[in-house]
Amino acid sequence: MRKLWQNAKRNFGAIGIIFILLTVGGWLIFMILLPQLIMLDFSFRPLLPLRKLGGPEDVYTLKNYIVLFSTPLHRAIFFKTIWSSVIVTSVALAICYPISYYLAKIARGAKFSWLMMGLIVPYWINELLRLFAWQLILADAGILNQILMGLKIVSDPINFRAGNGAVIMGMAYAYILFMVFPLYNAIESLDTNQVDAARDLGASWLRIHRRIVIPHAKPGIAVGCIMTFMLAAGSIAAPQLLGSPSSFWFTQIIYTNFECANWNQGAAYAMVLAILCLIFIMIMLKIFRVSLKALAK
């Protein structure tokens, strides 16, 4: 401990240490630990009127958690959110893998710059605005319906926003960058000669990807999937703007709880969502046999 202090003092100086403790320590305690602990505390207490707080009824209970699984609607929406987020993640992976491969190994010069710009520029616009743009495209009198009707493919406008389709599509679009960049970084680090060598030995494109590129890109795939899944499962704007009552998202229930001043149940649901995301991370790491250390790279 003494040695640690002496080392730190030599490296950063006394003022440096105080600065680091104040900023990093303050951030860690006040912005991460405390709010989470307060939420955790809330989630285990019953909803009580103000005057009963601290009274005999204010005890720790699992009631808020039990409600989630004993209310059929909430339970259904919870599982639907998981399932839909998995679909969003899969769709994003399917779209982003070829893009990332193209960016990392094929596109050169101007093509690369244009594609990169095309991917990044939309992200200069606020997420809400991008989702509104999707609303304009998918609305009954929207561009897509007008084109379809103009081409006489359909006679009446299709309600794209019924069901989960629009939400899943909007999210897959909204989180593309979070999938593309980890994939791009992973594929880019693959020695192109390995692809050539596999091809030279007779491998088809499918086999090259299955045996060479994907195994190499595993950490990137894991990171991209984790980020996309967490963003999708925790998204509120996309279901709010693109969804219909039938595509209610778990985050919307949490939001409603807080809105109705039932912080306790909201906190419990939020905790469940956080745990779900942790479980998903563990599963991904297991599936892709990636260690946390490799992930950090």
């Binding site: 000669n193 060598a197 007779g202 491998a203």
Partner: protein, 370 residues
Amino acid sequence: MEHVMGQDVAIDNVSMQYDGAAGFAVTDINVDIQAGEFFSFLGPSGCGKTTLLRLVSGFLEPTKGAVRIGGKNMRGIGPNKRPTAMIFQNLALFPLMTVADNIGFGLEVRGVSRSKRLKKATELLELVDLPAVEKKRVSDLSGGQMQRVAIARGLAVQPSVLLLDEPLSALDLKLRQYMRTELRKIQKRTGVTFIYITHDQGEALTMSDRIGVMSAAGVIEQVDKADVLYNHPKTAFVADFVGDNNAFRAVVKQTEGDCAAVETSAGMIRGRNPQRLAPGNEAMAFIRPEAIRIAAEKQPQHNQIGCRVESLSFEGAFVTVFLKTGKEQQLVMRQPNDGTTPLLTAGSAIDISFSEKNTLLLASGEVAYA
């Protein structure tokens, strides 16, 4: 190894221009490589050797001309369908697979069962003198071992032609020299046609049946056996690039039979004139360092130059002496360390001479290190 037979490779008038590039990477390449031959392309970096290799392997299609393997035009046939296998400069082994899976990859592609692949891998590892490493990870091998695994992986698909892209350049000197003889042995054992590209003339001269020397401009200067290249270079570039050489810019003054006399900054020089240069032609006179002697006595006129000893470099079997002529041109002389020659000291003045037979006159041209 069963059924593996080398095939001949004909590079017919091949030129290659990359998309958007101003000039040709290689121009009018005409080389016939025989079945079972160890053929090297030797040239300075950037001369288009790698381009040539990728044209044969199928990663590139020639802009003009054709590559024929075993008489069959390869245009439109991809690298995965050609009877060639390539050994990459960095070897490009698959780091996530075991040695056996690496070697068996080409067979896996061809639908060979796992047990047969393992058997084949064991066989091939035997062939390249690296037994009992099947289960190891590639990253656990040393540089020389990786080299052998890469060759085994290439040979596993029974190619007719093995293409090697400077695979020895990453090894240290001792291992490199050892692998040269090993590569040669493996080539003889398998009978596969080897096409080897390198900028290292030592590699090319020691391993190859024949060598094609390429200039920086991407053209073939000469195709011959090692000793012919060294003793009878056809162009100034080859004379300069293959082995050490002393070069004088010269103008032909008079000719008589196979010989000619030229005027240089160091006076008149007489030498062989295989190209029949005529008086007035611009020429270059080449004298190998080992052909230079210390003159016993003042001889009149030609093939004798007064020099100052600049420095000496003792290399064991011989001593390399760096000289400067009165006109400040640098010369290199190599003396055997057998006690027959007097020991020189830096700064002393000497006269050097060389015979007419050992002096080669060639038309003036591009040289490698001018």
